[in-house]
């Protein structure tokens, strides 16, 4: 499959990237690792005439244990045993992204902003044309939940829930300077689902930063998918927290792969802090989280099965925080 022609810019500073994307406006895409954007371009999905590549921007490529540049390749994090000790849940999520070959190109920022996915969207141009285009690309209606207002494509990044569970932040750079927001504020639960993020115009993700308290915090990530070696999440469940002698000292649970945006379930986990964890409150928490999610039928596995697995994974996640070694991948 050949790509349609585009102009390619390869700036070397964040400021140049922001200037270029401002000048090009809506006629450009930002290219990180390319493992998500280029397959979509090959299938003629939402092509833009200009690409601004981030790979030459030195600042985005560097990382420390406190601050990870957005162009850090997932394979580099995956190989880093210090990173795995510091953030076992995030490291587990990194390891679960696609395959080793993809992780060599895929980046942290790219995974946070990975395009949402749907049966009716991730298809070739002739396939989509024959059925009738959808809201998210070239059309005006949703084939999954038939109406013309909202897209239900599924958020399919692995890193966001794992980062959200340890209170990580994202640093953004735009025409008005830099700002730092909690990871989940990147996404827009109230939006139309077509746009996958809440970045301001011409803003880019510069880095992910971790609060000191998240270092070494027990955490885990479990991923549901058809092929354990490759696929996007049908459910990605991240949990982080401290359970000392059965008593919950801190706890956060977040999930992706279910709806158009990743979520954290503080309304369920907060009342558990200070409590002794037992089978009753563990099962009640898993039931409450399961009941609050609304997957639709736009991925491989049936929505009801994905929902039930939320319950299973929450119970397992809590058991692991209470008993098991940290960060054992699901």
């Amino acid at each position: 499959m050949h790509l349609d022609p585009f102009e390619l810019y390869r700036p070397s500073t964040v400021e140049e990237v922001v200037r270029l994307t401002r000048d090009l406006g809506a006629a450009c895409d930002v290219l990180a690792g390319g493992t998500d954007l280029l397959p979509n371009y090959k299938m003629h999905i939402n092509l833009k005439p200009n690409l601004v590549a981030l790979e030459e921007v030195e600042e985005l490529r560097s990382y420390t244990l406190e601050r990870v540049g957005s162009m850090t390749r997932l394979a580099d994090l995956d190989r880093d045993t210090d990173f795995a000790r510091a953030y076992p849940g995030v490291a587990a999520a990194v390891h679960e992204v696609a395959t080793p070959l993809v992780r060599e190109r895929a980046t942290v920022g790219g995974n946070l902003l990975v395009e949402t996915r749907c049966f009716f969207f991730n298809q070739t141009f002739p396939w989509r044309q024959s059925l009738g285009f959808c809201l998210k690309a070239d059309g005006d209606r949703c084939h999954v939940v038939p109406q013309k207002e909202r897209c239900y494509a599924t958020f399919s990044g692995d890193l966001a829930p794992a980062l959200a569970a340890v209170d990580a932040s994202v640093e953004l750079a735009g025409p008005d300077g830099r700002r730092t927001i909690p990871v989940l504020d990147l996404y827009d639960p109230g939006g139309d689902g077509i746009r996958r993020h809440r970045l301001r115009p011409n803003e880019i993700v510069v880095a992910v930063s971790f609060p000191a308290a998240s270092r070494g915090l027990p955490a885990n990530y479990q991923k549901l998918r058809i092929r354990p070696t490759f696929d996007f999440p049908e459910l990605g469940l991240a949990a982080a927290g401290l359970v000392e002698s059965g008593t919950v000292r801190s706890l956060a649970i977040a999930a992706g792969g279910l709806e158009t945006y990743p979520r954290r379930f503080d309304e369920v986990t907060r009342p558990l802090v200070g409590e002794r964890l037992n089978e009753t409150n563990r099962n009640a928490a898993s039931e409450a989280i399961m009941r609050s999610v609304r997957p639709v039928h736009n991925t491989f596995l049936a929505p009801d099965y994905r929902r039930r697995m939320v319950g299973v994974y929450v119970r397992r996640a809590l058991d692991r925080l209470a008993n098991g070694p940290p960060g054992v991948p699901g």
Partner: protein, 160 residues
């Protein structure tokens, strides 16, 4: 006729030799190798990053040439299946694949050789689970993988 953006100069190190060529912005590395440079050992399978047939090394790391813009390799080093054999004969992984019959139709084999050769360079004595993990991005639809894994194990142990 497909429209293209104008060709731009491209300099890279290819199989340890400096190469100066040119290509349009939208040229994918796989197409540059196969169609412009006549290095057809790198195979086009799914063309979407799923199958691993197009595996090459970029700066020594095994990755997918179908998901890499050719211009991203400017100033970098690319190694293809044509560049991993000694001057004469085969490398240990290639020999093991031949001797263990770790190939049927052979279409996925260059990708597996690239992944496995990089694995053994970095981890000369991998466990079976490290091997299966490393080849997770390479699909074979003939062998069922058993002979491929055995070949990599035998290349690692020098037992051929």
């Amino acid at each position: 006729m497909r429209s293209m953006s104008p060709p731009r100069p491209l300099r890279l190190t290819l199989n340890d030799r400096p190469v100066e060529t040119s290509c349009p912005n939208e040229r994918i590395l796989l197409d540059l190798l196969r169609e412009d440079l006549n290095l057809t050992g790198t195979k086009r399978g799914c063309d979407l990053g799923t199958c691993g047939c197009c595996t090459v090394w970029i700066d020594g790391r095994a990755t997918l040439s179908c998901l890499t813009l050719a211009r991203s390799t400017e100033g970098h080093s690319v190694t293809t299946i044509e560049g991993v054999s000694p001057a004469t004969g085969l490398n240990p992984v290639q020999k093991a694949f031949v001797e263990r019959g770790a190939t049927q139709c052979g279409f996925c084999t260059p990708g597996f050789i690239m992944t496995a050769t990089a694995l053994l360079r970095d981890h000369p004595h991998p466990s079976r689970s490290e091997i299966t993990e490393a080849i997770a991005g390479n699909l074979c639809r003939c062998t069922g993988y058993t002979k491929i894994i055995e070949a990599i194990e035998s290349a690692a142990s020098g037992d051929r």
